[in-house]
């Protein structure tokens, strides 16, 4: 059944929305970064899912592939390798920012920092 056969895409959409929910709703800076990580992870899953060819093997060959050999498309995997690096940089920067915010404000709750900013 196609509807259930595409379950990878359902998982992708579910994980995406969970991540987005955390990013938008949570008030803790670290939790929002975790949400951002989940959100980006979902997109990685989308790309990795689309490169799969039914009945194909991984795109690694010891001898050059014969015509007719089925294998997954390596390009999206390479793209996602790059996107993972980007994602890690964003996470690192976001967490570093959280540390700086903790140093300056003494809290990583957005409601509290916003309150302090209002009073300033």
């Amino acid at each position: 059944m196609t509807f259930l056969g595409l379950y990878y895409y359902w998982v992708y959409v579910f994980v995406l929305v969970v991540g987005l929910y955390a990013v938008l709703v949570k008030g803790n800076y670290v939790k929002r970064m975790i949400g951002l990580g989940i959100f980006q992870g979902a997109v990685f899953l989308l790309f990795i899912t689309m490169d799969k060819v039914e009945g194909g093997t991984g795109p690694i060959f010891v001898t050059p592939p014969e015509p007719g050999d089925l294998f997954a498309n390596p390009l999206p995997q390479v793209l996602i390798l790059t996107a993972i690096v980007v994602g890690i940089s964003v996470t690192a920067l976001g967490l570093a920012l959280s540390i700086r915010i903790k140093e300056e404000y003494g809290t990583i709750e957005e409601a509290e920092t916003a309150e302090m900013d209002r009073q300033a």
Binding site: L16, L20, V23, Y29, R32, L36, F39, Q40, V43, L46, F47, M50, P76, L79, T82, A83, V86, S89, V90, L93, G94, L97, S98, R100, I101, E104, Y105, E110, T113, A114, D117, A120
Partner: protein, 421 residues
């Protein structure tokens, strides 16, 4: 091949390689600033040379690593990209030339070489977006420039800069990720990442659900990046708390670059494809449109930004209706591009003027600045004309822009959208 053949990639490589070198330079006096300015000047010169070549012989194509284009990453610089390059490198150079004393007053000397290194990385990313013809490459350059911008904004003198940066980081990353999802769907349907190639292949699949989803995601993602009206919450704080020279640089060009990508997708990829699919076959429409831009810019159809925004904002759904390809549309698109350029100048200049006042008086709050015209009469005329130009137009157009947007939303019956505001 001589060096001249490699100009399109040099504009990216020069700041990219200068950045880590600059980070290693000891932060003493004006040395980091001098290096950054020199590199920026060099990039600007390269951009001018590229523009001369483009005006002389049309769109420049360049294949990275010698891989032929649909397989490798290709760069393509048309008149529009060349204009963007000039705006980006010019804004960087002017902001740096204007900025050193303002920067000294806001950022400690020990951090300056790292800050200028981030500046060059941002310059590299923005220039990369302007020159590349590869959808995924745009994502990577977008993230390079954004990450560098977050670092620069966070360097602002107040602690509010940190919370503002966090907001900026969340909005920027979500925007970029939405864009990436859109690119993923387009890749699924076309099997290519090269924009020119993609436009051609989209003709066969233009009204399939993934392509419609892709245009929605790309519109949403880039609108977040460009801070289009309902998605602009991150912007005021980010620019307000950033060091002033950084605000000058970013305000002048970083959101413009996102709009530029949106224009490319809107007209050159998705629109060209749907137009062809509808049977209004215009062979080479994309190339022709690019070619005409330069000529049309000179006639100066100056149209308002609100319209630009409104058109871009409703651009997605509009494309689905047959009303898409009216003759007026091209005129509007020219006006939009001219306005992008003017707006970059006006906004950059305004931030400089405010920065100058803040440097003289130690505050940029309007209350503290009351009576400034009498004390610093010399600065006043510098401020006034641009203020008049920007303020009178901006204030009343910003209002109209929002009215236009809200009317558009109501006409389409998107009540859910209204509730968000």
């Amino acid at each position: 091949m001589s060096l001249v053949d490699h100009l399109p990639i040099l504009v990216v490589l020069v700041p990219m390689f200068a950045a880590p070198l600059l980070a290693a330079v000891p932060s003493r006096g004006r040395l980091p600033w001098a290096i950054a300015t020199l590199v920026s000047l060099l990039t600007f010169v390269v951009a001018v040379l590229i523009t001369a070549q483009v005006l002389d012989s049309g769109t420049l194509h360049y294949e990275l690593g010698g891989w032929p284009v649909p397989f490798g990453i290709g760069l393509a610089i048309g008149p529009l990209s060349a204009l963007m390059l000039l705006v980006i490198t010019g804004a960087s150079l002017l902001a740096l030339l204007w900025g050193p004393s303002s920067m000294d007053s806001e950022v400690g000397p020990e951090h300056q070489s790292l800050l200028y290194a981030s500046w060059l990385l941002a310059l590299c990313g923005l220039a990369g977006i302007a020159v590349t013809d590869d959808a995924f490459n745009i994502f990577v350059f977008m993230e390079i420039s954004s990450l560098a911008s977050y670092v620069m904004v966070a360097a602002g003198p107040n602690r509010q800069a940190l919370t503002a940066t966090f907001k900026y980081l969340i909005a920027g990353t979500v925007g970029a990720t939405f864009y990436l999802i859109g690119v993923g769907y387009l890749y699924m349907m076309t099997g290519t990442l090269n924009l020119t190639d993609m436009a051609a292949r989209l003709a066969d699949v233009s009204s399939t659900p993934p392509v419609l989803m892709a245009s929605g995601f790309i519109l949403l993602g880039l609108a977040l990046k460009a801070a289009l009206f309902p998605m602009h919450a991150w912007m005021p704080d980010a620019y307000r708390f950033a060091p002033t020279p950084v605000a000058v640089f970013l305000a002048a060009c970083s959101t413009k670059v996102a709009l530029f990508v949106l224009i490319r997708f809107d007209f050159l990829v998705l629109h060209a494809a749907t137009a062809r699919a509808r049977g209004h076959a215009r062979p080479g429409a994309a190339a022709a449109e690019r070619g005409r831009d330069a000529g049309r810019l000179r006639h100066g159809h100056l149209r308002a930004r609100p319209q630009a925004h409104a058109r871009l904002f409703v651009g997605g759904p509009d494309r689905l209706h047959p009303a898409g390809g009216q003759p007026g549309e091209r005129r509007r698109s020219d006006g939009r591009i001219v306005h992008l350029f003017n707006h970059a100048l006006i906004k950059g200049a305004l931030f400089m003027a405010v920065g100058t006042l803040a440097l003289r008086t130690g505050s940029s709050s309007l209350d503290d600045l009351a009576g400034i015209g009498k004390v610093h009469a010399a600065d006043h005329p510098r401020f006034l004309p641009r203020r008049v130009v920007a303020d009178r137009r901006a204030a009343d157009r910003r209002l109209r822009q929002q009215v236009v947007l809200i009317t558009a939303v109501l006409e389409h019956g998107w009540w859910a959208g209204c509730c968000c505001w």
